[in-house]
């Protein structure tokens, strides 16, 4: 395992993707510290505020002051010569670091309450897009991990066992898998969403949906793993172990699982983006995360209003960029990992 990690770090692409992911997950972990405003703090006098420029002014960091010129736009203008001081590691709203430690300090805070610190502008009710993006990363990034854990665990269990034992177990397991693959998941989701909606709050609802999705989605992984364990089963070292009288459990654990690990690692890395995009798509359809929680998909769906394009509120599309970067990072890492664990399939 350690050597795989070292191998990945030796490659340029591996470094880039690994550090990007590290940065993303640190963002999610320290969302409260990075956010400049509480995730749901509205300011109805500053809706669709453009990103405030952070500059060096008078020996310190400062933001420009803005004036609302036309409310109906809304349209804002920089007030020339007026600045508000901002400070690093300054006290602000209360939050809990890592969900445990009560804290007040934030990376960036404005000194005076009149200052508008919108690093990525504000949305239709004057909430800070940057803060929502940072908090939203928690949902968007954990969702893939939860989903892939369930999928691979079930896939490994069913696929590995049915491939190893074969025969009747294999037959029934594979028919079960085919049955699951035949379920149209979008319709199932629509139905589940409307049936379960009153019972769960929106953030619980989303976890429920991801669990359901991965409970259907493990079938594909199970098929591949079954094929792999079927072929491993006929290899000499497994036959040798069997003839030495080792128990099936021991064989599975010591001989088959380590040989599947490389595939599992690559498959996991490559299918996490699927969950991230799935969350975005579901939230876009109104089936995923709902207000007042925040997620990248939800933020994108709120940006699909025609006026946002017509009036060029581009900062509301930044969640799209965040999804893009995350997905690319995961896919690159998946590619690098595949090169490392399977040198015969080198792509470069």
């Amino acid at each position: 395992m350690k050597s795989i990690f070292r191998e990945v770090l030796r490659r340029r692409l591996g470094q880039i993707s690994l550090f990007t992911r590290l940065a993303l997950y640190l963002t999610a972990l320290f969302a409260g510290f990075l956010a400049t405003q509480p995730v749901n703090q509205q300011n109805l006098d500053a809706t669709f505020h453009p990103p405030t420029r952070v500059t060096w002014h008078d020996g310190g960091l400062a933001v420009r002051a803005y004036r609302l010129v036309d409310r109906s736009g809304p349209h804002y203008e920089v007030i020339p010569g007026e600045f508000h001081r901002v400070r690093l590691f300054a006290p602000g709203f209360d939050y809990k670091l890592l969900g445990l430690v009560p804290m007040k300090r934030h990376l960036l805070q404005a000194e005076s309450p009149e200052a508008r610190l919108y690093l990525l502008g504000s949305d239709s009710t004057g909430r800070c897009v940057f803060s929502r993006l940072v908090y939203g990363s928690r949902v968007s990034l954990t969702i893939g991990l939860i989903g892939i854990t369930i999928t691979l665990f079930l896939g490994l269990l069913v696929g590995g066992l049915s491939g190893y034992f074969g025969g009747r177990i294999d037959f029934f397991a594979m028919r079960g898998v085919e049955f699951l693959m035949a379920i149209p998941s979008l319709y199932l989701l629509l139905a589940l969403r409307s049936v379960l909606a009153p019972r769960f709050s929106s953030d619980q609802m989303f976890i429920v949906i991801v669990i359901i999705l991965s409970l259907i989605g493990w079938a594909g992984a199970a098929r591949v793993l079954r094929g792999m364990s079927l072929s491993l089963r006929r290899r000499q070292f497994v036959l040798a172990a069997e003839s030495m009288g080792q128990s099936p459990l021991r064989i599975l654990r010591l001989h088959i699982l380590p040989n599947l690990a490389s595939y599992l690692l690559v498959a996991a890395t490559l299918s996490i983006p699927g969950y991230i995009l799935g969350e975005a798509a579901l939230s876009f359809l109104g089936l995923g995360i709902a207000e007042p929680a925040s997620s990248w998909g939800l933020m994108l769906s709120q940006a699909q209003n025609i006026k946002i394009f017509m009036l060029n509120f581009w900062w509301l599309l930044t969640p799209g960029a965040a999804i893009f970067v995350t997905v690319i990072a995961f896919n690159l890492l998946g590619d690098v990992l595949r090169d490392v664990v399977d040198p015969r399939m080198k792509t470069q």
Binding site: N43, S194, E291, K307
Partner: protein, 614 residues
């Protein structure tokens, strides 16, 4: 050389097909309509004379479901029907008074029970058939009041639940035109005089009864005879036999393609003229495209593809940038008649399994008027207007929006944004803050769920603002964005909800039309519908006032009563009103005789609009 020989017979066949297709298509339906000269009784409109022949392009938000006014339920069907059918009276778009339409004048007996309408003489239906009192009598007596007969005995079938005879064609307008379940007696005194005798005094009869669309007897008679009246004038008729859709309106259906477009053509026998004696309407054709998404139809207008469009308040800024390029004007008509409000479920009943609809401790909060008033004080209406609607809306304090100026009470109690006062009211009602959460006297944390429909972004934004305003009081609101039909099911059937945010559109021209909402036994009495007897004193008082509004003929007394209803509603806050969006209509500048009024909008004098033919 072989190829053309092969090709030729096929080509001939193709030509034959084309020819036969051309022959089987019905000729333009209006080409051979007999045109009857204008009668002396035709109305002359007070607008400068114009020019015939222009084409009007518009959109509508949904497909039509039927063209039969008896079964029409949706807005698109209603709009299409109102193009070709008309009533005896209508509302004046400037003053809001009742003015003549197909009736020239009317007399009301001193006891208020008999209405005698004098019809305009010499008017004809669009197919040239004379319009007489027989059509009016047919509409009421045959289309509405025909009884269902028992085939064995020949006697009317009695409905066991109401004790009254069952109708042969049960329809919404038929029930609407009964007064407390009793029929109105309709008789023709002569060819141009109709008398209605009411079973009891019913104040809005001139508007609701007089405004009833009149149906053509010579067309629909046979459908009454063979019992197919409710199936007549369907989508199929519109597609294949548009000529059967005969009316007194300014336009006639020319063709209809489901999901695509509806085309109307001018009625050559319309009964209004301009000062030079030219027959209205000036517009030759109306092409209405069916566009499902209001954003898409707003874009179509901004690109100059349509002539007129109702514009959403949050789209005005970018649409107005195209005004010079595509030569249109955006008319601002002030507050609209649509409202938005939050209400709490006050239904004290329980589900069939014996579970109360609302948990008892929450019911205690919701039914405390101080709690509702505190919530109302905490709502930042002006913030919603400024932020969510970009200033293009008006804060709403009462049941009637300022648009309906005849019935709007401007002096109801206002709950302007005042969180301190909200906190004081909550403290008075026994609520206490613990940490940053509000708790009731028994120690329950105050929280409730609020549902609203998920397909309206302005409404979901209002809900998030509401939730933040509540959070400032220490109240946790869980937002549920669900589809509209589920909300309606939960608010009117299962009653399994705590609070909801919805809106009403199309404020009624007469207060009595609101009786289903305001009276405690009403189906749409949102917070606690269909009560056997009024649950509270103030609801009993509203019931009493509404009954008075129903039978009082004196307009001042009716207004005073309805003003009191609005005051009670504002004081008790069963519906916590939020805002009313302002109304905007875009219209291309080529149209002449445009005289927008707040009440009638931009297109109220549609038959007198004209433009140079394109």
């Amino acid at each position: 050389m072989r190829q053309p020989a092969f090709f030729f017979p096929g080509f001939v066949c193709f030509l034959c097909l084309l020819l036969s297709a051309a022959c089987s298509r019905p000729p333009s339906p209006l080409a051979e309509l007999p045109v009857v000269p204008l009668s002396e009784d035709a109305e002359t409109v007070p607008f400068p004379p114009g020019q015939h022949g222009a084409l009007f392009v518009s959109t509508m938000p949904g497909d039509i479901a039927t063209l039969n006014p008896l079964i029409s339920e949706d807005a698109s069907s209603g709009a299409a029907i109102s193009r070709f059918l008309e009533g005896l009276t209508t509302l004046d778009p400037e003053t809001g008074e009742i003015i003549p339409r197909l009736a020239r004048s009317w007399d009301i007996s001193p006891d208020g029970l008999q209405f005698t309408f004098h019809l305009r003489r010499g008017l004809v239906w669009s197919d040239g058939h004379p319009f007489t009192s027989a059509d009016v009598v047919f509409t009421w007596r045959d289309a509405f009041y025909t009884k269902q007969l028992d085939p064995a005995t020949g006697q009317p079938v009695i409905d066991p639940s109401t004790g009254r005879p069952r109708l042969r064609f049960p329809s919404r307008p038929a029930f609407f035109q009964m007064i407390e379940g009793e029929e109105v007696q309709v008789e023709a005194l002569d060819e141009h005089t109709v008398r209605f005798t009411l079973p009891q005094v019913y104040a809005p009869f001139l508007l609701f009864g007089g405004g009833q669309d009149i149906l053509p007897r010579h067309i629909l008679e046979r459908h009454v005879a063979d019992g197919t009246l409710l199936d007549a004038w369907s989508i199929n008729t519109a597609i294949h036999r548009p000529r059967e859709l005969v009316g007194m309106g300014a336009f006639l259906l020319e063709s209809y393609r489901p999901g695509e477009r509806v085309v109307f053509r001018r009625n050559p026998n319309y009964w209004r003229r301009d000062s030079e004696g030219q027959r209205l309407p000036y517009i030759e054709r109306i092409i209405t495209r069916i566009v499902g998404d209001s954003n898409a139809s707003n874009v179509a207008f901004a690109q100059g593809l349509t002539d007129a469009e109702g514009l959403q308040p949050d789209n005005i800024t970018w649409i107005s940038r195209a005004a010079a390029t595509h030569d249109f004007t955006i008319h601002e008509l002030g507050p609209s008649n649509s409202t938005s409000f939050v209400w709490f479920n006050l239904n004290p009943g329980s589900s069939p399994e014996g579970r109360p609809f609302v948990a008892p401790h929450k019911m205690r909060w919701f039914s405390d008027v101080r709690f509702r008033q505190a919530v109302s004080y905490a709502v930042n209406r002006q913030g919603v207007v400024d932020g969510v609607f970009a200033g293009r809306a008006t804060a709403l304090h009462g049941y009637v929006t300022p648009k309906n100026r005849n019935w709007h009470n401007p002096d109801v109690r206002r709950f302007d944004y005042d969180p301190a006062r909200a906190r004081a009211l909550l403290a008075e009602a026994g609520f206490v803050m613990r940490g940053n959460r509000l708790h009731d006297a028994q120690g329950n944390p105050v929280e409730f769920s609020l549902m609203t429909n998920n397909n309206n972004n302005l409404r979901t934004e209002m809900a998030t603002v509401f939730a933040e305003n509540m959070a400032a009081l220490g109240i946790r609101v869980e937002l549920q964005f669900i589809d509209f039909n589920t909300i309606i099911r939960r608010t009117s059937e299962s009653f399994n909800y705590e609070a909801a945010l919805l809106g009403l559109a199309g404020g009624a021209p007469d207060p009595y039309a609101s009786k289903d909402i305001l009276m405690s036994d009403g189906r749409l009495h949102f917070w606690n519908p269909q009560q056997a007897s009024p649950a509270t004193e103030w609801e009993a008082r509203i019931d009493e006032l509404m009954r008075l509004i129903g039978r009082e003929l004196d307009n001042d007394k009716r207004r005073a009563a309805f003003f009191e209803v609005q005051e009670i509603m504002a004081e008790q806050q069963p519906l916590i009103f939020l805002v009313t969006p302002n109304e905007y209509v875009g219209l291309r500048n080529r149209w002449q005789n445009v005289q927008p009024t707040p009440l009638g909008g931009v297109l109220w004098n549609f038959d007198a609009l004209w433009a140079r033919p394109n």
